[in-house]
Assembly symmetry: C2
Homo-oligomer: 345 residues x 2
Amino acid sequence: MSGQKTKAVYLKEYPAGMPADGDFVVKEMDVPSPGAGEMLCRTVWMSVDPYMRGRMRPDVKSYIPPFSLDAPLEGGAVSEVIESNIDGYATGDYVVDFTGGWKEYYLSKGERSQKVDPNLAPLSAYLGVLGMPGLTAWAGVTQILEPKEGETLFVSGAAGAVGSLVCQLGKIKGCRVIGSAGSKEKCDWLEKEAGVDVALNYKDYKNAGELTKALAAAAPKGVNCYFENVGGMHLEAALNCSALGGRMALCGMIAVYNNKEPEPGPSNLINMVGRGVMARGFIVSEYMDKAMEFAMEVAPLLAQGKIKFQESVYEGLDKAPEAFIGLFKGENMGKAVIRVGPDRL
Amino acid sequence: MSGQKTKAVYLKEYPAGMPADGDFVVKEMDVPSPGAGEMLCRTVWMSVDPYMRGRMRPDVKSYIPPFSLDAPLEGGAVSEVIESNIDGYATGDYVVDFTGGWKEYYLSKGERSQKVDPNLAPLSAYLGVLGMPGLTAWAGVTQILEPKEGETLFVSGAAGAVGSLVCQLGKIKGCRVIGSAGSKEKCDWLEKEAGVDVALNYKDYKNAGELTKALAAAAPKGVNCYFENVGGMHLEAALNCSALGGRMALCGMIAVYNNKEPEPGPSNLINMVGRGVMARGFIVSEYMDKAMEFAMEVAPLLAQGKIKFQESVYEGLDKAPEAFIGLFKGENMGKAVIRVGPDRL
């Protein structure tokens, strides 16, 4: 591969507000050669995920550091091993890792790579329902919310990569499931394909008060469990409708990620006191040690057709910024993935 | 006692905003006679507590129902048994219960009464450090925050009945403790008597940004545990300074109890996600089954002088509304108690 040119996406500057195409730049470079203890990987599929917006703020304290402007962006990818100097990885293997996104070729030490079998599931599924978003959904449900049969689960961002699995795990655990999403098409999919009991198109509701009424009607016994992807009026409505002893898994608040000025939080946090509500923020890296348990539970459900998922596929590395920006415009159905290259060269 | 007149305090109307004297009315009535399975109790000490403000909203869903306008107010009291038709309770016994407050005499079925020994502690202590506020503090610390040695604990409302015990339990568990209170006198007591490492007079800080700077300086490793009594800019500052994996016990938000219009919450709830923060609202009734464990831990510490407490004493039932209103004006040092009658007639 020596001397061959390849591409990677850099952040030109940290976005102010909603990210735009101009915040990104595609740079050309030589395909690198693997040294001792390294392997050269070719990205086949890459992932864009809302959490990446948080890494585009240079001043935020979090479990993951901000992106640098001086290196390609990083993100989840499924890649083919092209040339390996690492025992256990051979040419033609497929790996999932958290650095291969936003580029066509890259070197890896294999430390955070996991081999995946292309015969068990479509390769892109390892970025979605069987990947990081899947583990996120499963961890929020099983490690934080712990819904009991007969309880009511409310999910915001319900048609997304994470939310759609949360909904279906909730149904499998015997919950009444209410999902919120941003289009009639998404709500139809939730009710007809994912089996949720009530899908609310949040664009039908002008404010937290209206959303509260709709949620209260859909959850007559109150909301026992809330899986938070959105924030803003969704959180306020969930707190208004929380049952006594409610639990909330705070996975993300996509509604506020692109605010230039801080947006005030809900005015009803006091409900947490009177109703004994527990809220737990989390990011998936806390639960990496549970990845095997997750796979053992979810992979068979997927194989049996008991869990459904959708993908929005973008073609080519150059489309990665567009796919990423689409996350915040509600343009994707299910998991957004970018096909960076063919399965085999 | 038959035919003798006595007094009780009623709510005249539900307060709008800050409660005022005119929201209360003292009514006269006959001292009742106990029937079968009842006892007549005479209130010696009564308690006023911030949570009562929540019961003065007719539309709030909570573990405890709103107060009625057609019955005397209720609250914690230490009372003397005057005449008993209940096995196990005899004339001259002292009991603590949750209904005897705001009145001079009342009938009890003894269902939620606990006998207390006047020789073990001053009777009023059973309404404070050894009573409901004490159990609240202990439960928040031991059942929710679970602080580890070397961690940093931040307490708002630190000089109050609950907060002052939280601070001292934190010190006993080996934490660095930072307390916030509303006067120099309270801060002096916290640093000199209660042993907190840094006391912040929140009135020195105009907004959440200024309080954040002061808290960050006092907590260079971040806040691992936050005990919330106040809300508003205190919660925002605590979220700004939260360490990864922080825990928050939400006991109350006294800053917002008297708002006529809902006050927006903090704009930085997203910090809970990136830092993996858990927040748990609670009220003390959830932890009644731990009352014995609490007493076994705290009573010896009190007897050994390892825990200090303060009281603001008001004389006479008529002063109860004033004492209650004083809670929201920051006028009390430590626990506010009202002496309704002498220990013995």
